[in-house]
């Protein structure tokens, strides 16, 4: 079996290249921030960033000049602010160096689903009458062969070059377990040509095998597993650490000022050197206030007759 355990540096270095279509997924929960930072550190260029909800990680990648094109459904810093690097790159008068391909949430998710399922397209109920169809040629109609005069919009399969996601735990074979809010991670992993997964911890085989329904992504889909504790910060990992809402609230002020943003990237990404350096800068005890009060699942019985 091919070795699946990589350092973050080697995983990004091996599986992400200039001009790739890279999907970084995670729906508020489990956003692969550490991987985004490593992409910036390695100076990857010309990426098409696919992400249902490009947020601070997108702002950082765009500000660092890694991204030419963004495929998305909602871009913003949840309800607490704007992404000014993205806006500067898109709004009239800005450099205009960021191409957009815009969907709604289910439209993009359905593209992952079709890509994962090897079908040419997926029908969706949205888009009739939306201006999205005027600016996105990927939203097309087909007639239903089952009813007279009924049409439906469809979106085409999407197969990114690389999927990068974060999860709570995995074994050495790359069987990935996740819980809490799951996002589109399973779809994008199956849809992509290569998959990198960062996890909070590598656990014994027995842990994974004690709860096989919890395995969202089987090892054969995964090319690289990276153990990267706190790698989702400032996003969160259910049961490991909560979301750093203060950081999210602080982002607008950083992002609004291009110089300050550049300094932030220099200091927290480049100068930090690696994820360990980033954690050192956060400081000892930083995660104390973000540490959850345990609420454990009731065990279920997977036993059988011997």
């Amino acid at each position: 079996m091919a070795e699946k355990l990589f350092s973050l540096k080697d995983a990004i270095g091996t599986f992400v290249s200039d001009d790739d279509v890279v999907a970084l997924e995670g729906f508020t929960h489990l956003i692969p921030f550490a991987a985004g930072h490593e992409i910036i550190r390695q100076g990857v260029k010309g990426l098409t960033l696919v992400r249902m909800t490009p947020d601070i990680i997108a702002d950082q990648l765009v500000a660092a000049g890694c991204v030419n094109r963004m495929v998305f459904a909602f871009t913003g810093n949840s309800s607490v602010g704007s992404l000014y690097a993205v806006r500067r790159a898109v709004e009239a008068g800005g450099a205009g160096e960021l191409e957009l391909e815009e969907y709604s949430h289910y439209g993009l998710l359905a593209r992952y689903q079709a890509g994962a399922a090897g079908i040419p397209f997926m029908p969706v109920r949205s888009y009739a009458g939306s201006d999205l169809v005027k600016i996105n040629p990927q939203l097309k109609k087909v007639a239903s062969p089952f009813e007279e005069d009924v049409e439906t919009y469809v979106v085409p399969a999407l197969n990114p070059d690389v999927a990068i996601i974060h999860a709570q735990r995995a074994d050495r074979q790359g069987n990935i377990q996740s819980w809490g809010i799951l996002g589109p991670q399973q779809e994008v992993a199956f849809a992509s040509k290569r998959t990198i997964v960062l996890v909070e911890e590598i656990v014994d085989d027995d842990v994974i095998r004690s709860d096989p329904n919890r395995t969202l992504i089987p090892g054969f889909v995964v090319d690289a597993v990276v153990e990267c504790r706190y790698g989702a910060h400032p996003s969160f990992a259910q049961g490991y650490y909560d979301r750093d809402n203060d950081f999210y609230r602080s982002w607008s002020a950083i992002s609004k000022d291009p110089d300050r943003l550049e300094s932030w990237i220099q200091e927290w990404i480049h100068d930090a050197g690696d994820h360990r350096g980033y954690l050192s800068k956060l400081g000892d005890g930083f995660f104390d206030r973000l540490t959850p009060v345990p609420r454990l699942s009731t065990p279920v019985n997977y036993g059988s007759v011997l």
């Binding site: 806006r87 201006d131 979301r243």
Partner: protein, 268 residues
Amino acid sequence: MTSVVETTTTGPDPTPYYTVSELLAAVSCRYLQGKRRVFAGIGLPTLAVALAQKSTSPDIEQVYESGVCGAHPPKLPETIADASLATGAETILTMPVLFGYVLQGGWIDVGFLGAAQIDKFGSLNTSVIGPWDSPTVRLPGSGGAAEVMVNSREVFVVMRRHNKTSFVRELDFCTSPSPAAARRADPKVPTHGAGVTTVISELGVFKANAAGELCLASVHEGVTVDQVREQTGWPIKVMDGLTVTPPPTGEELRLLRDDIDPGRVYLR
């Protein structure tokens, strides 16, 4: 609009001061009576649903875009995908199940949306101000709004700011079309829900008439029909039996302030 509306005391229930947020949450809550499943983002809709649960509609359930149903968060969540929403929830669905089976499957009674712009049939713009390829302001985009619009039985829109740049004759960009607009553009694609039936703004409440046009149904205390007309980008129709919105009751305000959002996370 100022953030505090002063009102006079009327009748036996001495109406206290209340903020716009409190007013919008309380009024939204009243329209939720008799509804079962609400699909809503975080913020005012969270407050409205929580208020409904604690007053008129104990069985009302909020479904979150993140897949959480039957949430029992130990504290007020700050995002639609908060850790606290997962803790103790009855169900967390995968995203294809949430969007495919729950939303598209037609299980949502009321979708709650906001927007930068709304037109008189309830089409919404959350994408751009100005032209799409060279916008003055790049807004977040649809997110799930296009799906919520198409698939909910009906949609409530909460508009904090009510003026001619938000209530417009023509949207800069139609992100989430009304069923009427959808049928006009694509007559062979079936529409499902009623679209926007109710708009709750800082000035009053619009309800859709039989043709789907949003008509002024209620003005908030101290607001005149002419004021609403002046702040709306289309020539508004006024419903027969226009009312003055009853202000938040003392009990509603107490629940919002003391029970639901004591930290004033959303009660800005």
